[in-house]
């Protein structure tokens, strides 16, 4: 390259004569122009790399990352998505300003650049290593010394980090992990990382490590309260929703508690575009949300009362389109695809009739397999009860009758199911239906037409689900009962009734309900409801959801393109699921994985259970005199005992010791050991850890957090975390002196503080969790690693590619867990650890035959002598698992032989992956060094792991997809393989998806079809191909007959008011000046999550540069607060300090504190705690709902992130007042 000209020399160009033109008006000079290059270089770059953002925004947008001189300079949207088809808008451009600002973060002062350990701990550690012969003894000398342990635990969150080497940090963590394994059991080491789809290899890295170690992974979907329990309840499916382009197929859209432009920014254009097509958009939102701007009608509902609104709309639809007229499309849909025609018993409760449970083949004495699991319908043709195909009993009897053909499974004759017994009833029976309101519960008398049925227990009355639902909604059928004659009657659930609760005018409710149904008639079901967090984070969100979702079921909109529900709350669709779960759960080496529901774990680990005040009795059905238990935690003990929910740490003994004990007692086979454990439990020689969570042998000891910000973003009950789990300074204003006492749990007056020995965080940002961790490991960002991302918003699988290598000492998550595995193996070798065997308990799982273990929804507790404890039936499964900690590393980096030996599959179907395993040996190469891994495919790099996932999964490998469909064909006796046949030859590779996004292949792992370029909509294969839903009836459920659902009055959709919560029940801090009490809500933030962090300078610059709380202008005036004043919001759970944003956008009575406003940015002190204000989660805590804990019963069986109590936190109030003095605590 030419030498740069001397600038000084260039100056002498002045000496050259100047050419002048145009009458000396202009001139040309030879002056130096090198300076121009500075401007030219602004947009020059050396390379462009395709990557994406691993955040839980469900966007999964593909981005170009631009690199110049080894520095990431900016990013730009990818524009090469495959077309959606000729008559539709395309996906591109995807990506929002938050994502576009990420490159700032890589080089920001918040970046974690080196491994850190807090000084007080590393000093002790170094000293201990000097005096002890191995790391294990050294660690023991610290944690078993109460004074030392207290010293480093109390230092958490108070700075003092010192830079250490990778080796030193990893050895420390490895020592603690192994110490815990040996002393307390492998299940005391816990891993937490959310939402695998956002960066599935990173998730898999740690999950794989945890499973090889025998440590449980915690679920997140339920813990985040993003899981809608209504989805498993209705469909037996975790969550399956349309991609955003399918909105364009809709004729009528209601956005219900979902703020599409804010939280689904890259998808919002479809909502704008479909309006140009003539689609009407209705917004249901208490505040004037961004999405409300899209709407033609706005239903400003009082927050948390959406259930009432939905019930009233359902009332209108049932009255006008089912009773007053019968719409053929709706009738047909209801009979084929819902449980409307199924028959339910009525039982006498004292002198009242109440609804019972589904009438099963067993009741009728039918001689069929799984007769307890085959609910019946009434066949109009034969005038008798008949068992249709597709019930859950037929799913597991392998007779090829698990399909939705309305055919009698005994006679193979077609059935004409009756929706209602009206007209053929033997009697009109008045049933008592539970009703809930702010004034308390009461029962309503409604009349149903009933028939008599001869059962094994004698004659009983039965009716249909349809008849019950009509009665429940209070629709007048001319048969009496306390029903609504007009919409203006103040009877549940009329439009007039809801007006007093929701504040929405009845005329508007009637109008929208009619339009919604009429559109479905006109378009064959293209009516859609986009639901979101606004109605999902409540204690009773499941009843709200069921009331809302009933609307799409009533009008036959579900399973139709452009129709049905669309739930976008923290939900991401991990498309290549089979390959991913093989690697992530280390199924290629060891089974079963330990998977724990997050909410229960944190509820006990952070001791939030100790502070319950409202007895369960206040929440149960008025038909039930008293709740089974008064304390929520007791239900969780029941759930653990009966195998409903997982429960790690499991027993009050180390699983390794338990195994040795069983052997010492002469038990050898896993069955014998299982019975031994059952016997020990029965005789109370052995206890579940959950029965004594504050006993130190039951503490979780090590918690590894990655890809998450647990302490300050998702940790609801923040101050409880600080106090009990971490044992450091906290701002809790609550005590447990006179809280509820549990029955099934040992109460210890002295609550433990600092349960965790180590909190380890892998992150690239020094945020809440890192600041409270003992060990912080620097992770690579999304522009520095190989990974995969997918979402439910679009049908592509996107790659992450490193634009730059991980800077400073950062490493990718995959590499960090690999090196941690190495450190563990090395320490294990150093201390001469031998292979061990461990007793492992797992819950009764959905999509396995175990969902048929506890029939009739009857709770039988073996600990009360109601039945025998039988592993895998009346209690958890008991397994024996062998682990060799010296081999963790070898297993980590290789794809184990179980891939070829064991069947692979998902959702209850299985096939062989032998061919793919052989192929991977060739494409990835094999491990060469002599070890257990020799000859196995090499997945030591994240890219290889990604490649293996793509090859093993049905959505990304056509051959596997066809195999999967063929497996489902066998199960259902349907022809299905054609759904994937056209793409059988395709197998995605990492290079291919890096070159251009590819639409995934239709697979039975999900319920929609992409065949022929079709837009994804859930349950279309159920509707069109007659694949049953994975529910009790095989159909979409209006009725849930489990005993606990009866107890809580939730067999059918209903309205339940918010919990009646007060900021303080006693001992409130002294009131000073004016204050106001508001419902405290933490919705998503426009300027940070999901796609960027709040502490990013570009985002802070956009809005007030620090924490804010939004309140209504009149509320603010009442409390004497002006815009931008500093305020404190507090209740018994804690305090938050922020600036007030005073706005007319919000209705009165609520305060918004946007989620995850990082506490390390501009938070002054408060006199209430003499500390800085807390996080947005400081005034929150979780409320667990017992109905979410049901298990062992059809779709109400456990699945990881599928079912389990949600960590909801909306039913809370705070006191808000002006901050007396803004003290930055800087002296």
């Amino acid at each position: 390259m030419k030498q740069k000209r001397s600038p000084l020399w260039n100056r002498f160009k002045y000496m050259k004569p100047i050419e002048r033109y145009a009458n000396e008006h202009s001139e040309a000079t030879y002056g130096d122009r090198a300076w121009e290059n500075a401007y030219r270089r602004r947009w020059q770059h050396d390379k462009v790399v395709r990557s994406t953002h691993g955040v839980n925004c469900t966007g999964s947008c593909s981005w170009n990352i631009y690199v110049k001189d080894g520095i990431v300079t900016w990013e730009g949207q990818q524009l090469d998505y495959p077309s959606t088809g000729p008559d539709m808008p395309d996906f591109e451009p995807r990506g929002c300003p938050r994502g576009a600002s990420f490159s700032w973060y890589i080089y920001s002062p918040l970046r974690v650049k080196y491994p850190y350990v807090r000084g007080v701990l590393i000093d002790m550690w170094r000293e201990a290593l000097q005096t002890h012969k191995n790391p294990l003894d050294a660690w023991k000398s610290i944690v078993e010394n109460p004074e030392k342990a207290k010293r480093y635990k109390q230092a958490r969150g108070k700075g003092g980090f010192v830079r250490v080497s990778w080796d030193e940090a990893l050895t420390l963590v490895a020592a603690s992990l192994l110490y815990t394994v040996i002393k307390y059991g492998p299940d005391r080491n816990v891993g937490f990382s959310p939402i695998p789809a956002m960066s599935m290899i990173s998730y898999a890295s740690g999950a794989r490590f945890m499973q090889l170690m025998g440590g449980p992974m915690l679920s997140f979907y339920d813990w985040y309260a993003d899981l809608p329990p209504a989805s498993p309840q209705i469909w037996g499916d975790q969550t399956d929703v349309p991609e955003s382009s399918d909105w364009y197929n809709s004729g009528y859209i209601i956005t219900w508690g979902s703020n599409v432009p804010l939280t689904r920014t890259p998808d919002a254009h479809f909502l704008a575009e479909v309006r140009y097509r003539g689609t009407k958009v209705v917004s249901v939102s208490p505040d004037y949300a961004e999405s409300t701007k899209f709407a033609d009608d706005w239903l400003s509902v009082k927050q948390g009362t959406d259930g009432a609104l939905a019930m009233a709309m359902g009332h209108v639809i049932l009255k006008e389109y089912y009773v007053d007229q019968q719409v053929p499309y709706f009738q047909q849909y209801a009979k084929m695809y819902t449980d409307f025609p199924f028959v339910v018993t009525l039982k006498k409760d004292g002198d009242k009739w109440v609804a019972g449970r589904f009438l099963q083949a067993k009741d009728l004495g039918r001689n069929v397999i799984n007769a307890e699991w085959k609910p019946v319908v009434y066949d109009e043709n034969k005038k008798t009860f008949a068992i249709p195909h597709g019930t859950i009993g037929s799913r597991w009897d392998d007779q090829g009758k698990w399909n939705l053909h309305m055919v009698d499974e005994e006679t193979e004759q077609p059935i004409e199911p009756r929706l209602s017994f009206l007209g053929i009833e033997d009697e009109l029976v008045t049933v008592h239906i539970p009703y809930f309101s702010d004034e308390g519960g009461k029962t309503i008398e409604r009349v149903v037409p009933a028939k008599k049925a001869q059962t094994e227990d004698g004659e009983t009355y039965v009716t249909t689900v349809y008849d019950l639902v009509l009665a429940n909604y209070g629709v007048d059928r001319g048969i009496g009962g306390n029903v609504a004659r007009t919409y203006d009657d103040l009877v549940p659930f009329t439009p007039a009734w809801q007006e007093a609760i929701t504040g929405v005018k009845r005329e508007l409710v009637i109008k929208i309900a009619r339009e919604f149904a009429q559109n479905a008639i006109d378009t064959n079901g293209r009516s859609m409801i986009i639901v979101g967090a606004g109605i999902n984070h409540w204690f009773n969100s499941d009843t709200i959801y069921r009331a809302v979702l009933n609307l799409v079921l009533f009008v036959g909109a579900q399973g139709v393109n452009g129709g049905g529900w669309a739930h976008y709350v923290g939900q991401e669709k991990l498309r290549p699921v089979e390959g991913w779960q093989t690697i992530a759960m280390a199924r290629d080496w060891t089974m079963p994985p330990k998977l724990q529901n997050g909410t229960s774990f944190f509820y006990f680990a952070t001791d939030q259970w100790r502070y319950e005040e409202m007895p369960v009795d206040e929440l149960v059905s008025p038909l039930v005199k008293k709740a089974r238990y008064s304390h929520y935690a007791d239900y969780n003990v029941l759930a653990a005992r009966l195998g409903w929910l997982p429960s790690y740490p499991t027993f009050n003994k180390n699983g390794i010791d338990l195994y040795k004990e069983a052997i010492a007692n002469g038990k050898t086979t896993p069955e014998q050991i299982g019975h031994y454990v059952a016997e020990q439990l029965k005789t109370k020689q052995l206890q579940f850890a959950i029965e004594d969570p504050d006993n130190e042998v039951n503490f979780p000891r090590n918690l590894i957090v990655w890809r998450a910000n647990l302490i300050s973003s998702s940790g609801k009950g923040h101050e409880y975390f600080l106090k009990h789990l971490l044992g450091t300074t906290h701002g809790l204003l609550n005590d447990d002196e006179d809280s509820l006492r549990p029955q099934e749990i040992t109460w210890r007056d002295e609550a433990p503080e600092g349960k965790l020995d180590l909190l380890v965080n892998l992150d690239f940002r020094m945020a809440g969790t890192a600041l409270y961790s003992d060990v912080v490991l620097p992770a690579a960002t999304w522009y520095e690693k190989h990974d995969l991302s997918s979402t439910d918003m679009h049908p592509f699988v996107h790659p992450f590619n490193p634009a730059i290598s991980a800077p400073w000492e950062a490493r990718s998550d995959w590499d960090i867990f690999k090196s941690l595995a190495k450190a563990v193996s090395d320490v294990a070798k150093q201390i001469g650890m031998k292979p061990i065997k461990e007793v492992v308990a797992t819950p009764l799982l959905h999509d396995t035959a175990q969902e048929l273990t506890q029939p009739f929804g009857k709770v039988k507790d073996w600990s009360k002598g109601e039945c025998e404890p039988i592993p895998g039936k009346t209690m958890p499964n008991i397994h024996v698992v062998e682990r060799d900690y010296t081999l963790i590393y070898d297993k980590m980096i290789s794809l184990g032989p179980n891939v070829a030996k064991q069947p692979m599959g998902t959702k209850g179907i299985a096939w062989s992956a032998k061919d793919e395993y052989e192929k991977l040996k060739k494409t990835l190469g094999t491990i060469k060094h002599a070890s257990i891994a020799a000859g196995c495919p090499d997945i030591s790099s994240a890219k290889n792991a990604a490649e293996a996932i793509l090859t093993l999964s049905s959505t990304t490998n056509g051959k596997v997809a066809v195999k999967a469909w063929e497996a489902l064909e066998k199960k259902t006796n349907l022809r299905l393989a054609d759904l994937a046949k056209e793409r059988e030859e395709e197998c995605f590779t990492f290079e291919q998806i890096t070159a251009q996004p590819k639409t995934v292949i239709t697979s039975p792992a999900f319920s929609g079809s992409e065949k022929g370029g079709r837009r994804y909509s859930p349950f279309t294969t159920n509707v069109e191909r007659l694949i049953p839903w994975r529910t009790l009836t095989g159909r979409q459920s209006f009725y849930l007959d489990h005993e606990l659902m009866h107890e809580f009055g939730e067999t059918m959709a209903t309205f339940k008011p918010m919990l009646q919560h007060r900021p303080f029940s006693k001992k409130r801090p002294e009131a000073k000046g004016k204050e106001i009490i508001l419902n405290y809500l933490t919705p998503h933030n426009k300027w940070s999550i999901h796609s960027m962090y709040f502490d990013s300078l570009p985002m802070l610059t956009l809005f007030r540069g620090g924490p804010t709380v939004w309140i209504n202008k009149d509320d603010a005036q009442e409390a004497g607060i002006r815009d931008n004043d500093w305020i404190e919001c507090f209740n018994r759970n804690g305090v938050v300090v922020a600036r007030a944003v005073v706005s007319y956008r919000l209705p009165r009575g609520m305060a918004f504190m946007h989620h995850a406003q990082d506490r390390h940015i501009n938070v002054p002190g408060t006199k209430l705690t003499n500390n800085r204000g807390g996080t947005h989660n400081s005034p929150t805590r979780i409320h667990v709902k017992p109905t979410h804990m049901i298990g062992g019963y059809a779709q109400l069986s456990y699945g990881f992130n599928y079912y389990g109590p949600t960590g909801n936190q909306r039913d809370l109030y705070v006191i808000i007042r002006k901050l007396e003095e803004v003290d930055w605590l800087e002296d």
Partner: protein, 234 residues
């Protein structure tokens, strides 16, 4: 020996640094060659301080040219008497010097008290201000202490010495009778020339004199070699 160093060796060292430093700075720090205006951070005080200082220092500079570079004989030839010269020098010099000093004090105060200016100041900025303050204060005090026209005459001592240095015939003997306050002023001035190239003072040489005679529209030609290699990537 000291005299030799102060009035012969030191001036040449300064001259070397001054010229060499500017060449070096211009070659290697094109983007740093700037007046480093802080107007965007603070305007009010700057307007007063900067205007007073710059106009003052311009007249001071003209005065120095008149007094030091132009030999006394030129004035004699023109018929300007000693008294007249002194009157002109004092009448012009004292107000100019005072304006420069007051302006500078405002600028110093501004830099020290306005937070945003203070935190964006570099060491060079402070050095430039400090040296300017010493030079102006010592120069002004020399002038004020020498109001009496029959006192010390720099036109027969400092002037010839200065010119002798520039003509490479340095003669330190001219400096023998110079009062100490003048010497301080000279040494301070020499010091400022030594640090000059490394501070914002370089902007003196970027006075846009070209504006006086350029056309309204200026096209920059691409150099023939640049045309082959349009982007000078290094």
């Amino acid at each position: 020996m000291l005299e030799q160093f102060l009035w012969v060796i030191f001036p040449y060292i300064v001259l070397t640094i001054f010229i060499g430093g500017h060449i070096w700075r211009y070659q290697y720090d094109q983007f740093g060659w700037t007046s480093k205006s802080s107007e965007v951070l603070e305007k009010k005080q700057l307007r007063l301080g900067s205007l007073m200082f710059h106009w003052g220092i311009l007249f001071v500079f003209v005065g120095h040219v008149m007094g030091i570079l132009i030999p006394e004989s030129v004035y004699a030839t023109l018929g300007i008497t000693e008294e007249t010269y002194h009157l002109i020098a004092l009448a012009g010099g004292i107000p100019a010097g005072l304006a420069a000093l007051i302006g500078l004090l405002i600028l110093i105060r501004r830099r020290a008290t306005v937070k945003r200016v203070r935190v964006t100041s570099s060491r060079g900025d402070w050095i430039a201000l400090l040296f300017l303050a010493i030079v102006i204060a010592s120069g002004l005090s020399s002038t004020l202490l020498n109001v009496d026209s029959r006192g010390f005459d720099y036109r027969t001592t400092i002037g010839p010495w200065f010119r002798s240095v520039l003509l490479f015939h340095p003669d330190p003997s001219y400096m023998e009778t110079v009062p100490v306050w003048f010497k301080i002023h000279i040494l301070a001035a020499l010091s400022i020339f030594a640090v000059w190239p490394f501070t914002r003072l370089v902007h003196v040489f970027s006075l846009p004199l070209r504006y006086l005679r350029r056309s309204y529209v200026v096209y920059r030609k691409r150099m023939p070699k640049q045309a082959e290699q349009p982007y000078n990537i290094h």
